[in-house]
């Protein structure tokens, strides 16, 4: 009746009001977003102009008075701080860096394979009552205790040097195996097996002869833990493989003991293309 009708009108009015409120909020939000974009664009353009001016000044194209015409003491100090930090970063590239702590030193040993920097490892050393390792991130399969026992008390530099050799060789072996898996997976048959120290690798790869492919099984043993080349290479092929492949296997065996694994495979790809 009338009441029901009135109720319905009431509900409709409420809903209309809510919708209007919602629309108003959305319009406000849109206006805010538009204004923000304009604000940021202005900021961006100002910065871009500043950077362009810097470039011109550096090329000597315009005689521009630099911002730092009269640098504040704070600005000078901040410059120096950044400058020293940059120098410390360079030490990272040399392989041994670190910082002094209250109780001793925290060394950082960086590893690299040729020009590519890999993982770095930390060693927190205490110097009193005697030199000891308080904390470290050296993996368990690196003979840290052995190396420490031999050198830590008498020659810290030598200790770090030997440890760095182990870590860099490990990082190099791992890098080669990773590169092989990443770039030459189509030539690898099955999975590449390796231990955590990456000093034992076993895998199969395919060699083709007269449009038939034969798998070679390779076992690489890296007997010298400070070296990233194997000390023993064993390659075997299946009995039905032709004799010429046996020669190839011998050649590859020699190659793997002299050349990094991924580089050796790169040279195969090159040879096959020719």
């Amino acid at each position: 009746g009338v009441f029901a009708h009135l109720e319905m009108l009431e509900v409709q009015a409420r809903e209309a009001a809510l919708k209007q409120e919602e629309m108003k909020q959305q319009e406000e939000k849109l206006a805010w977003l538009k204004a923000r974009v304009q604000e940021l664009k202005l900021q961006r353009d100002e910065l871009q102009a500043k950077v362009d001016l810097q470039q011109k000044a550096q090329l000597g194209k315009e005689g521009v008075v630099s911002d730092l015409a009269q640098p504040s003491a704070r600005a000078v100090l901040e410059w120096k701080i950044k400058s020293v930090k940059a120098m410390l970063e360079v030490f990272y590239l040399t392989g041994i860096s670190g910082k002094l702590t209250k109780e001793g030193v925290c060394f950082c040993i960086s590893t690299a394979y040729e020009g590519t920097y890999l993982d770095s490892y930390y060693l927190h050393l205490l110097i009193k009552p005697e030199v000891q390792i308080c904390r470290h991130s050296v993996p368990v399969f690196i003979p840290l205790e052995q190396i420490a026992k031999k050198y830590l008390q008498t020659d810290i530099r030598r200790f770090l040097s030997v440890l760095s050799n182990h870590l860099n060789a490990y990082a190099g072996r791992r890098y080669q195996a990773d590169q092989l898996q990443e770039h030459f997976s189509d030539q690898i048959e099955g999975t590449l097996q390796r231990n955590s120290l990456c000093n034992l690798l076993v895998f199969n790869y395919n060699m083709s002869s007269k449009s038939k492919t034969f798998p070679f099984n390779v076992r690489l043993l890296y007997g010298d833990l400070c070296c990233s080349l194997p000390t023993k290479v064993t390659i075997s092929c299946t009995p039905d493989a032709p004799a010429s492949l046996a020669e190839t296997a011998a050649a590859h065996s020699d190659l793997f003991s002299r050349v990094a694994l991924h580089k050796a495979f790169r040279s195969f790809a090159g040879a096959e293309e020719s």
Partner: protein, 190 residues
């Protein structure tokens, strides 16, 4: 009004904020790299800062905080140079490329390791991928003052070819120690 129009503006805001961050870093890098203050200027600034601080202690990073930070960093650097025997006498760097994920900087370094002096130039490429930053050296050029040693020049050219900066420093360190030891031995027998 549907949400997609908000998304368009929000995406643009995010992209502008990233651009601004990048431009700010470029500007600051360029300022840093084209400025140079001598040790005297640094000392004067420290003194003037200490005077300021004695007068008042309001404001952001306390001056003594900055000075303490500088002293701590210089202590670390001094320790490393003494410990490794590698002393850098000058370092110039220039950012040649900077995008969101990739920074390329050219470095020029000179220094000595015990009595052997060296000069280096290289490009350092740093790339930001999902979890970490990767670093790689290219265009490595090395000059070592070592006079007559043919083994050294062979080592240097092989190192340059492969961008082996880390190996260069590790080997330089042991070679320089040995060279120094040999020099003392000769002098002793003269």
């Amino acid at each position: 009004m549907d949400n997609s129009i908000f998304q368009v503006y929000e995406d643009e805001i995010q992209s502008l904020e990233e651009e601004i961050k990048l431009l700010t870093e470029k500007y600051e890098d360029s300022q840093q790299e084209s400025t140079f203050f001598s040790d005297e200027e640094i000392l004067m600034s420290i003194k003037s800062f200490q005077r300021e601080f004695q007068g008042e202690s309001k404001g952001h990073q306390s001056p003594s905080g900055l000075i303490a930070q500088l002293e701590s960093l210089e202590a670390d650097l001094s320790f490393l140079m003494k410990f490794t025997g590698i002393r850098f006498t000058s370092h110039f760097k220039k950012t040649v490329e900077k995008t969101r994920n990739r920074t390329v900087r050219k470095h020029r370094l000179s220094g000595n390791c015990y009595s052997l002096s060296f000069q280096l130039e290289f490009q350092l490429l740093e790339m930001q991928n999902k979890e970490n930053v990767s670093a790689a050296i290219t265009d490595l050029s090395i000059t070592v003052e070592s006079g007559e040693d043919p083994g050294m020049s062979k080592f240097v050219s092989s190192t340059e070819e492969h961008g082996n900066l880390l190996t260069f420093f590790r080997s330089l360190s042991s070679y320089a120690e040995w060279y120094e030891h040999r020099r003392y031995t000769f002098l002793h027998f003269k």
